[in-house]
């Protein structure tokens, strides 16, 4: 039986005890440390952009030591651009992980699975630990696994929408069929939605906007951390069954008190 002590998230041979991948976008650098700590997060995503000269604050100064960096390839519209960004990100010198995201659609920000599979093949051969953001399609997920991905990251809903697990039935299929950690990414807006994903058997949840748009960011990070832990424990415990109809009493049907007339 897996307990909290022995239950590890394994990505590319690395072990993590936290199953919450925290995004760092859209909120103040000053809040990152508190968010990471309150969430208990061990992995944080970053983006790569043109550097501004002049010694402006660097995000790396705000991330607590020991946290694994997961650079994304945001901005890439095809496999070639994603590969370029991934190689540059690795050159900054923070490890081999890459959250591969390739987006051609600027309105709904939906990932291009075909280009993502192509880029995964290239990057995995170069030793990257590729975590592809994807539309939850079983065939694409199989191709990503074959291409050498270390996880798949299906979207729950469009990026930044906070709409929740709109794709739950398709994510269920991936969890059932794909032999890699299935990490729900994008669209998760509330702790309860993250918890549901974990109850379904997701290996982890990634969230950014839900936290960045909360009124109190570190507190929301904490709430997500707790919800993800609760969902994982529920999954490991095995959820109770659901009745099709009717009811099932929780209390004994014997030993009732008699009323004043002696009737049971």
């Amino acid at each position: 039986m897996k307990t909290r002590e022995t239950d590890k998230l394994i990505l590319g041979g690395r072990e993590f005890t936290s199953r919450f991948i925290l995004g760092s976008g859209k909120y103040s650098l000053e809040l990152i440390k508190a968010a990471v700590e309150q969430a208990g997060a061990q992995i944080i995503t970053l983006a790569l952009r043109r550097a501004n000269p002049g010694g402006a604050a660097n995000i790396l100064d705000y991330i607590p030591e020991g946290v694994t960096l997961l650079p994304n390839t945001s901005g890439a519209r095809n496999a070639g651009e994603a590969v370029r960004i991934a190689r540059l990100a690795r050159e900054v010198g923070c490890g081999d992980f890459v959250k591969l995201e390739i987006i051609r659609d600027s309105k709904y920000l939906l990932p291009d699975n075909a280009e993502t599979i192509r880029a995964t093949e290239i990057l995995a051969k170069e030793g990257f630990l590729v975590m592809p953001y994807m539309y939850p399609d079983l065939n694409a997920a199989r191709d990503l696994a074959d291409a050498g991905a270390v996880s798949v990251m299906p979207l729950g809903a469009p990026i930044g929408s906070n709409k929740g697990l709109c794709t739950r039935e398709f994510i269920r299929i991936l969890i059932d069929e794909i032999d890699l950690p299935v990490i729900v990414d994008a669209g998760i807006g509330r702790p309860s939605q993250a918890c549901e994903a974990m109850e379904m058997g997701a290996a982890a949840v990634m969230a950014n906007t839900a936290i960045a748009t909360a009124s109190r960011i570190p507190q929301m990070a904490e709430a997500f951390g707790k919800a993800i832990e609760a969902g994982r424990s529920a999954y490991l415990a095995g959820l109770g069954r659901v009745l099709d109809q009717g009811a099932s009493p929780s209390s004994p049907l014997t030993g009732f008190l008699q009323d004043a007339e002696g009737r049971e």
């Binding site: 760092s24 976008g25 909120y27 990152i32 983006a47 002049g54 010694g55 540059l88 900054v92 950014n208």
Partner: protein, 64 residues
């Protein structure tokens, strides 16, 4: 003249590492592409910038 992140800059004839430091880039926190090819950090100190070079200098920022 050279081009840095799409804008013209003075730097031809300079050592890349000196150029970066003088312009406020932290060499330990960036990656550099020169004319489309990645330059590893270990070569910043031995790479001379030529007239017309195009540099892309990138760093990590917040993102999901």
């Amino acid at each position: 003249m050279i081009t840095v992140n799409g804008s013209p800059a003075e730097g031809a004839g300079r050592l890349l590492l000196d150029f970066l430091r003088e312009n406020g880039y932290d060499p330990a926190r960036i990656a550099v592409e020169r004319n489309g090819a990645i330059l590893s950090r270990s070569r910043f100190g031995e790479t001379w910038l030529d007239e017309g070079d195009a540099l892309e200098i990138v760093q990590f920022v917040g993102g999901g």
